[in-house]
């Protein structure tokens, strides 16, 4: 590398003190209420999935870096974030070995092989979820109702609230949807917990507040357009509160690495992802559109970054 001439002792001499680890720790803290809610609702099965997915993500990175004699970056906590995000976005009934497989896929194939933190063009957790969804559809869409007793498992195969609506079945009330008292993915059901996490990320200035809102607004707009009884009859609230839309808005659409770096690009990204999400939900083969919508937009990220370079202060246009 041609870094020899860059003076390490040159100014600035001081630093804000906020490191990548601190940022990632903030994301983990923001995810805590979601994990807690998932464990309260679904019991030890949820806990097992979260522990396995997070643990194997961290372990994968550690072993890979050891084998290749690279600096071990585990302290930056980003692998833990990826593993936990994946765990939160799957069903509590996922067999532990699939949770492990998903995490290995996310960290090894999507992140490390593309050069590690900051280099992967797709969101690792989402890519792994897509991978599991395609390869193991039966295990991925088997959900359970929140349990009261320990062993009274109430299996709902292939019928999360979302497909239920698509094929008209029983639908949870709005309050139940808000608190998470329904079948669904571990971290996606309790909207209250997600809002807590969102508030924390805003207070800590980890994400821009408007990005999730743009995603949700565009999503809601088209959800209203394409109602089941014709134009402008959509049940917006129902579409918003069920499935993984709000979870993705806060934690996936705002991912640093796989979304544009500048605000202008982030807005376009969020709007595009919102539109694609409802498009796939309404007209696609999958009941949930979040995963593929965001992955598709991930592919556009380099383009958005390159296209939207603002002129520097005081300049109107590019002066070559």
């Amino acid at each position: 590398m041609m870094t020899t001439g860059i003076a390490k002792t040159a100014s600035p001499q001081i630093h804000s003190g906020r490191s990548t680890t601190a940022v990632m720790r903030d994301v983990l803290i923001a995810l805590l209420p979601l994990a807690a809610a998932g464990c309260v609702l679904y019991g030890w099965r949820a806990l097992l999935v979260l522990v396995v997915s997070t643990g194997s993500a961290v372990l994968t990175e550690y072993i890979y870096e050891k084998l290749l004699h690279q600096t071990v970056t585990g302290a930056d906590l980003s692998a833990a974030v990826t593993g936990l995000l994946l765990g939160l976005s799957v069903t509590p009934l996922l067999p532990w070995w699939l949770a492990m497989l998903g995490s290995v896929f996310a960290v090894l194939l999507v992140k490390l092989l593309f050069g590690g933190i900051g280099r992967n063009f797709m969101n690792p957790a989402l890519a792994a979820r897509a991978f599991l969804l395609i390869s193991f559809p039966r295990q991925m869409i088997q959900f359970m109702n929140p349990q009261a007793g320990a062993e009274s498992l109430d299996l709902i195969s292939g019928a999360t609230p979302l497909p239920a609506a698509k094929w008209s079945g029983t639908v949870p009330s709005l309050l139940d949807s808000f608190l998470g008292n329904k079948a669904g993915s571990i971290g996606e059901v309790c909207i209250l917990a997600i809002i807590l996490g969102f508030a924390y990320l805003i207070v800590r200035r980890v994400i821009h507040w408007e990005v999730p809102l743009i995603y949700l607004a565009v999503f809601a707009l088209f959800a209203w357009f394409w109602g089941s009884d014709g134009w402008f009859t959509g049940n917006v609230l129902y579409q918003l509160l069920n499935g993984g839309v709000i979870f993705a808005a806060v934690f996936m659409v705002t991912d640093y690495t796989s979304t544009p770096m500048r605000r202008s690009g982030q807005w376009i990204f969020a709007a595009g992802a919102g539109f694609l999400t409802i498009l796939i939900r309404r007209f696609g083969a999958y009941p949930e559109g979040v995963t593929f919508a965001i992955l598709l937009m991930n592919l556009l990220t380099p383009l958005l970054d390159r296209a939207l370079v603002p002129a520097s202060f005081g300049r109107k246009k590019h002066a070559k």
Partner: protein, 459 residues
Amino acid sequence: MAKHITSATWSKRLSKAVRRPVGGVHPDDQKAAQAVATETLPLPAQVKLAVTSVTPAGCRLLVRPGDLVAVGQPVASPVDLMSVPVHASVSGRVLSVDEATNLNGQRCPVVVIASDGRQTQWEQLQVPAVTDFASFRQAVRASGVVGLGGAGFPAFFKLGSAPGQSIDLLVANGSECEPYSASDARDMLENGAEIIAGIRAVLDYAQIGQAIIGIEGNKPDAIRHLSELAAADERIRVRVLPRRYPQGGEKQLVYAVSGRRIAGGALPSAAGALVMNVSSLAAIAVYLKTGQPLTQRRITVTGPAFDRPRNLMVPVGTPVSQILTYVGGLHGAAASLIQGGPMMGRLVEDYEAGTLKQTNLLLGLTAAQTQKQAEQACIRCGLCAEVCPMSLQPSEMNQLVLLGRYQEAADRYYMKDCIECGCCSYICPAYRLLTQSFVYGKQQLKLAQRQATQGGQAQ
């Protein structure tokens, strides 16, 4: 651009409030030294006057080893169009005039004078006869005053070559946005009258209609004091600036008080503005009144590696070691000394070098403060671009510089517009050496350009 905008529109814009800054960061102020009155450093045994000039060899030496000199006597005078004279800051005997490395790390002739302890004034000092713009400009040049806020750019040169044409606004820079620095704040409290006198002189002779003194909100005493003094002259107003680094950057300051945007590489005059540091203005006023050129200045000595903050009146050229001895030295192993602020200052390598005219702050930082973490991979958080006061894209520029693609960094991402303020490196959670890489990248571009022109000449 500025040409199409008449002064009428400018003044309308001026009536608006202070503009919100673009980018910037909020490091901890650490302005304890602002409350400390200035004391005078005991006369050093010798001074080392660096004869820096704007153009290479822009100054001619006037003394030889063995010569006797008095305070205020020029030891070097300019032969180019931009440089200013250097004056003896002590009376005594010239020991040597050899080339050496100055406090800024540049090679230049250094005049070493052994003090006789008497501080005899040079008998030829006299109050300059100023009647018009040309004689005013000449006087400002003869005073030896440079940008005392740290930039060190000759003050007279900013005045331009003719009065009253394109410049309609004088901005007196009292923002002092670097953490720890307090020398200008003390000057505003202790030399307020001189600052106002300097402003009025510039307004009168350069035929500029109005002046704004920009002061950051963390200096309430200075704001109050200068507002009172300025009340007598309706052309002068004080504006309170937000506490944000780098509010005192020329472009940032002019934008804040007038809304005029100065693009990268352009001078304030392109937007009809003239920016001068408050201490420089005071030094000009002193010369106009007494004929006493710039031979001493206030240096703030502060930071956690010193026992307490101080403001010292110091002859220009005093060896840094002399100051350190006086204040009891740096405390703590591996503490480092910075000249200038923690954002843009420079590590002092040679404690025997003499202070420069523009040395405003000697900052002692502890090893823990200055310890640099190892660089990590960019996480694409975008913070660097958000805090950049020039709206640049540090992350992308850094990648290109590391690949050796300097020209592309300049063409696609305006790397040449970087003012090296340090905000991006300060904020980067991956501890990337962003600012540092742009300093390097710009050097490489200059080098390539020089080689290209030399190659062209050779053919």
